[in-house]
Each structure stands twice: as C-alpha cells, then as structure tokens.
C-alpha cells in the first residue's frame, strides 16, 4: 500500500494544524531531540579519542616505514579505522536514526598481505580517515553551540524559581563594576524571562535536531557509499535481476523438456504395451507374449517413477526443507560416484540461502563427476559472521570455467541474485576450488 503510494507520487494526507503546532513546540519533549543532543555533546569526546589513536598510528607508521615496524602499525591503523567507522555508523544509527550502509569492497581472499592491500587501496578506507579527521573540529563546534543554547535556555527557564526564593525578591544579571545591566524586580518580569526560556528551549531543541541532521548528512557522505557506488550497485542489481529472471525461465524450460523426454515418453511406452496386451487378450493370443508385454509395461512404469523422483529432487530436495543443509549435502555426497568428505557447520538458515548453497554443491559435484577425473572431493560449509562460506575442492584435472549459460554460470547468477559471490579457481592441471559466499543475515 505504502509502496503504491510512493510510486504514484501521492503525498501522505496533511496533518491537522493543531498537530503541526504541537510537533514544533513539543520538540523539547521528543526523545529524538535528546538523542541528537547527546550525540552532539559526545561527538567531541569521540572526536578527540579517535583522532588521538588514528593520527598517532598514522604518523608513527609513516615515520617508521623505513624500518619494518611501520607496516604492522599501518595495518593496525587500518583495522582500527574500520572498527571506529563501524562504531560510528552504529552510533549514528541509534542516536540520529541515520542508516548508513557499509561502503567497502568485498574482502580479498588469500594471504594477510593481500587482504591488507585490498583494505588500504579501498577509497572507503580513506574516507573513513577523513571522517575521523573532521570529527574533531566538528565535534568541538557542535559541543560549543549545543552547550551555549541549552544552558542559556535553562538559565532563563530557572529565573522565576530563582526570583521566588531569592532574599528581597530581586535578581540582577550581567553585573559590570557593581552596576547591574539587567535587574528583575517584579514577578511579571521574572515570568516573562521564564517564558522566553521556554521558547528558547524549543529553539535549542530544533538547533540540536538540525545540527544532528547536518552531521548525519556528513557521516552519510564520508562513512557511506558514494553516489557512484550506489549507481553502480543499482546497475549491478538490475543486471542480476534480469539474469535471475532468465535463469528461472531457462529452468522452467529444462523441467518441461525433462518431463517430456523422460517420464512422459516412458508413460507413452507403458500405455502402448498395455494397449497391445489388451488387444491380444481380446483375441486368443499366446499367454507368454501377453506376459512379456505386461512385464515390459511394469518395467517402464518403474523407470518412469525413478525419473520423476530424480526430477523432483532436482527441482527441490525435500530433505533440505525438512532437515537442512547437513542432511541434504550428506545425501548428495553419498550419491556422488567420487568419494566426498563433508563438513557442514551451520544451523538452519533462510530457505533461499540453503537452497542456493545446496545447488552450488550439487552442480559442483556433478561437474566433478563429469569432467574432473578426481579421486576425492571435500565440501566445507561454514558460517563466518553474516556470510555462509561454501567450498568444494577436488584433486582433479582443473580447467573449469563459469561459462555463461553453463551450469555454474546459471548458479553464479542465482548467487549474485542474493548479493553473494561465486568464484571458481581452476588452473589447468588442478586442483579446482569452487567457492561461494552467501550473505545470510544473523
């Protein structure tokens, strides 16, 4: 419903005026105001802490770059930076309601050095760095503004109370050289100042909210993906969606073909055999010939059953839905002509993730059996934070590719469809490693 409205460009109905006035005046009572204020006040202290850590590590690593100590220090700096950015994103989400997605490139695989280089050359890392550098001056500025507006507002708000309890009911402000520039002599004056304080509270609330929103925008720009990244992502998603649609279409055609060429042909043959048997029974034929026809029909029927069962399993194995990946992959392994060692270490996951992981393994094992001339295969499935890692490794001849339209190509599309990655590493001469990383939430 909301989606339709948004697509049709219909605005939500206007609020009644009373509600709007209340929304403006009630800002000091809104928890969002206080979250934003807290954020702005604390951002200075975070700014100081992060700045100290990062700049120290950065300068030290540059200074010590000639000796080897600089490199691990630089690595430490990058790791700290990532963690700081992660904390800042979470903190901005909680306090400012700003949802900032991770902008990083997918992590490199392989040696520590490669992973480190991948992180160091990622522009997002350097934008994080910039954020930490600007957080210190910005935080200081926010702290000053917020402290001033709120303390003035609260002081004025306190004037009537102050006036009532003060001896002589007289309060003087801004005293310079014993001469008071502002003297409150009457209750009306005190109440007027109190009212001004109340109004200033509303102003302070909106100043805090505004600064909070401004900071959120800066954080989004520096800690989040760039517009180009977002545009590329939209393109990638469009392409992947188109391929997913194609893959589903191709899959339907394959199922139709399998049904026609397999089970249906067998059933035709069976019906024919039974028809002939019936004809012969009507005449007075040789019982031996009839028996042979019936036996043949019986065999055809059983073969049709086997084909239908295989076809159903190829569409979706029931054991996967009922008992999960471990049971389903063990069953796959037991059917493989090449010995397979299976290690599955994960609890039940969302069914699309389980299904894709299963078919990656199924396709990889089919390929191993068909082409690899391997004598052993290992399948490892494990959970690493919010990703499911699926790895199929064989000791065969290698040279496998992800051809578009091929079995692995179709799977790569399905994997991309849920934002995962499928990598095939198969140098001529082997070994072949098929590795899929599937995001699986938490």
């Amino acid at each position: 419903m909301t989606v339709h409205q948004a697509q049709a460009g219909i605005r939500p109905p206007a609020r009644p005026p009373a509600e709007r006035v209340w929304r403006v005046l009630g800002a000091p009572l809104d928890p969002r105001t206080w979250m934003a204020t807290g954020y702005l006040l604390l951002s200075m202290f975070f700014g100081i802490a992060w700045f100290a850590v990062i700049i120290t590590l950065f300068l030290l690593s540059i200074g010590l770059a000639v000796v080897w100590v600089g490199v691990p220090l630089f690595a430490l700096k990058i790791v700290c930076l990532r963690e700081i950015a992660r904390v800042e994103r979470a903190w901005a989400r909680t306090a400012l309601g700003a949802d900032i997605p991770d902008p990083y490139r997918p992590p490199e695989r392989g040696s520590l050095w490669r992973r480190l280089r991948g992180m160091a050359t990622d522009p997002a890392t350097w934008k994080d760095f910039l954020y930490v550098m600007v957080l210190l001056p910005l935080g200081t500025l926010w702290f000053s503004i917020v402290t001033v507006v709120w303390s003035v507002a609260f002081s004025l708000l306190a004037v009537p109370v102050w006036y009532l309890w003060l001896p002589g009911h007289r309060a003087s402000f801004f005293e310079i050289n014993g001469h008071a520039n502002l003297v409150i002599g009457t209750l009306v004056e005190a109440l007027a100042l109190g009212l001004a304080g109340l109004l200033l509270c509303v102003v302070a609330a909106w100043v805090s909210r505004g600064l909070g929103a401004g900071h959120a925008a800066i954080a989004r720009g520096l800690l989040g993906p760039s517009p180009q990244q977002l545009a590329r992502r939209v393109e990638a998603l469009q392409a992947s969606r188109a391929r997913t649609v194609d893959a589903a279409e191709a899959e339907r055609r394959r199922i139709e073909r399998d049904l026609h060429d397999g089970a249906q042909q067998r059933l035709v043959a069976l019906a024919m055999d039974l028809g002939m048997a019936k004809e012969r029974l009507a005449g007075d034929a040789d019982p031996e010939a009839v028996r042979a026809l019936v036996a043949e029909a019986h065999d055809e029927a059983k073969r049709a059953l086997v084909e239908l069962r295989d076809l159903a399993r190829g569409i979706h194995p029931a054991v996967l839905a009922d008992r999960g990946l471990d049971a389903a992959i063990s069953a796959l392994a037991a059917r493989s002509p090449v010995p397979v060692e299976v290690e599955v270490d994960t609890e039940r996951l969302a069914s699309p993730v389980e299904s894709i992981a299963y078919f990656v393994v199924a396709e990889a094992l089919t390929n191993v059996a068909k082409h690899a001339r391997a004598t052993e295969v290992t399948v490892r499935i494990s959970r690493e934070r919010e990703r499911l890692l699926v790895e199929i490794r064989d000791n065969g001849a290698g040279g496998a590719t992800v051809a578009h339209g091929g079995g692995l190509g179709g799977l790569a599309d399905r994997v991309a469809g849920i934002d995962g990655r499928l990598v095939v590493d198969s140098p001529p001469g082997g070994p072949t490693v098929v590795r899929a990383e599937l995001p699986c939430g938490s």
Binding site: R309, A312, P317, A327, A333
Partner: protein, 214 residues
C-alpha cells in the same frame, strides 16, 4: 496380519488396501493423517502400520513423526514407512535404537507386488526392511573406509542385502547360491569388519546398520 494404513492419497490408500487384501492380510483401519494413525493404532493394536511420510497438514514429515510416536506408545506394532524419496537421515531417525519391526521403503517398491508383500510380512514378524537406496547411500558414505575396502564384491553384495534386512534364505535366493555359502560370506564379513557375531536376523541387521552409520 492385521494392518492399519495411513496414507492421504485416496488412490494409493485403496490400492494398498486391495493389494494387502489379496496378499491375505486384513486391513482394519485406513486413515489420512498422523493423529489419525496414532488413534487407530491405539484402538486396533494392529500387527503392522503402513505409513506415508508426507501427510497433511504440512506435507513434510508428519508420517515419520507419527511413526516415532506410535513406536513409543505401542512398541509391539511394527511400522513400515513408505516415502516418495528415501534419505539415510530419516532411516536413522526411524530406526533409533532398534531395527526390530521397522521398514523404510520407497513408494515405488509397491510396484513389485511379491517383494513388497514379503517385506510387509518380514517387518510384521519383527524383521526389518530397509530400502536398497538407503543402503546404497550408507555404503556410498563409507567408501573411503578401510575395512569395507577389504570385502570382496560378493561380500559387499551380501552386506547390502543384510542391511536391507533379508534373512539368509532371502539372500541365498536373491544371489542364487546355497544358504551355506551365504553363511560363510557372512562370517567372513563379520570377521573383516570386526563385528561381534550377532545371533538372529534382527540383531544382525542392527549391527550392520550401526556399523554403516559409523
């Protein structure tokens, strides 16, 4: 034998009833779901319950779960589970600690009427009937196993038939050899796998299945 059938497809339920009737069994109750099966077994105390794995309401594995429940409530009732597909994992859950009076077969096996009726009789009398496909899966999983590699091809065949729950006579008939030859193969298999000689067919099936499940 007195039989209860739990199967939600009317076509198959009536077909099974007719087939069992012609085979000389008495079908005392026909039900279409798991709770119905538990009630029918409580009411009729049949010799054997023939159960489909997939039944309403979820069409996943309620037949299996009902079978496990029946096993607890009426241990003397044998259970033969029929399924559209068989998986070693389900077999393991069904067999649990004892393979006595347990059968787990592909639905397709009904088509071989003689074999099927023999399996029903065997399970009803406290034996076991495990689908060859499950046994193949078990053997497939233990392929890298050293002791299994020592078995001769004939001994592997005998092992598979034993795991299916067949008696010596049944194995001999299947392989077209004498019962004496089968006995010789079996003692050789038990020696090579380091299994203690088990007396009686039931204990033997369980020993072999336990070994294969590792």
């Amino acid at each position: 034998m007195r039989v209860v059938i739990a199967e939600d497809s009317v076509l198959l339920r009536e077909g099974l009833a007719r087939l069992l009737g012609e085979g000389g069994h008495e079908v005392v109750a026909k039900v279409g779901d798991g709770p119905g099966l538990v009630q029918a077994v409580d009411a009729w105390r049949p010799d054997i319950a023939i159960v489909d794995v997939r039944m309403p309401p979820t069409h996943s594995d309620e037949g299996l779960r009902a079978a496990v429940e029946v096993r607890e409530r009426a241990p003397r009732t044998a259970i033969l589970v029929l399924s559209q597909y068989v998986e070693e994992r389900y077999a393991a859950e069904l067999i649990g600690a004892s393979a006595e009076g347990i059968g787990y077969l592909l639905k397709d096996r009904v088509a071989d009427v003689g074999e099927f009726l023999a399996a029903v009789r065997r399970v009803g009398e406290g034996g076991a009937a495990i689908d060859p496909e499950v046994v193949a899966q078990l053997l497939g999983r233990r392929r890298c196993d050293k002791p299994l590699a020592q078995l001769s091809p004939r001994e592997l065949e005998v092992l598979a038939l034993m795991a299916e729950g067949r008696s010596n006579a049944g194995i001999a008939e299947r392989l077209v050899v004498t019962e004496g030859a089968v006995e010789k193969h079996i003692s050789s298999i038990f020696a090579k796998l380091g299994l203690p000689a088990a007396e009686g067919d039931h204990r033997r099936v369980l020993a072999v299945l336990t070994y294969l499940r590792g």
